[in-house]
Symmetry: C2
Amino acid sequence: MVTTRIEQYIEAIHEIVKKKGYARVKDVSESVGVGFSAVSEMFSKLSEKGYINYEKHGWVTLTKKGEKLATKLSKRHKVLRDFFIILGIDEKVADEDACEIEHVVRKETMDRLTKFVEFVKSHEDPLWLKRFKEYYETGKLPECPRTIKKTKIQSRNN
Amino acid sequence: MVTTRIEQYIEAIHEIVKKKGYARVKDVSESVGVGFSAVSEMFSKLSEKGYINYEKHGWVTLTKKGEKLATKLSKRHKVLRDFFIILGIDEKVADEDACEIEHVVRKETMDRLTKFVEFVKSHEDPLWLKRFKEYYETGKLPECPRTIKKTKIQSRNN
DNA sequence: CCACCATTTTTGGGAAGCCAAATAGTTTTC
DNA sequence: GAAAACTATTTGGCTTCCCAAAAATGGTGG
């Protein structure tokens, strides 16, 4: 079973290795926010499950299997984060929520969301999104341009 | 601490009470997918925490506090589900994902998402959404109507 | 009214994670 | 090259949630 917790450790290791070339108990302890003993135990478990290269007192790196999982999570994180930012959510909150959701969301949903983010990003500053943000701020629904006349829009704006 | 598990039990009780007027160990056991003993223990805990009205061997209902939590979760569930369905995700998957995400997502994110769903629903069949679905199916980005001429759109469609 | 059956609770024990303290292994310093 | 300082592992024990089996409860038919 790949628990959320296992995924969180894998992500932490991935980030640390990206920066330093290897991860150690102390690094992961700080990153995940648990004590050394918890990390040490988890290293044994992750090693048994084939996610990390680990020998006692040694430097830790991800195996191919660990790398694959880390890459998947990283992609999910980015898409979720980008999506939330598109909606206008604060970056910090977007990040935190992405961090949680990436572990529970189904592949099918991620596929849609990925395409959605691509779609939105391919148009710079879409009108409908501007309208949504206006709605979010003011609570007022801008009328749909397809159902109203130009003069009406202008009179509303003046 | 309100764990995900506690929330899942509360939701199950809420649904059952809505149908039968009260919930019993057996009902919740089936709904949550755990044995009787787990439910019985959880009933004690939920009662201690003030979420349910419970006496041994009796009918269970939610307290005001439990009701409030259940209502929050139910609203979140609906918004998440609706949002996923808007994106074109299968109803069953939308439901499953909503079930997971509702326990971990932050209030701020839910507020945005709620408004977003309202926004989309207030326009029937928005053009941009039709374009997204086209993009999802075909992988082709329809050009933005603001940057191209009408004749160009027509010629593309013929 | 009482025995039976369904339901619920209790009991004993397990897995996953965590911590603090004790121990052990490295590295650095002098 | 040994003591000191740092880092990692082990150990014992905790919490939350679970299960299976045993014990208790309560409603119902005879």
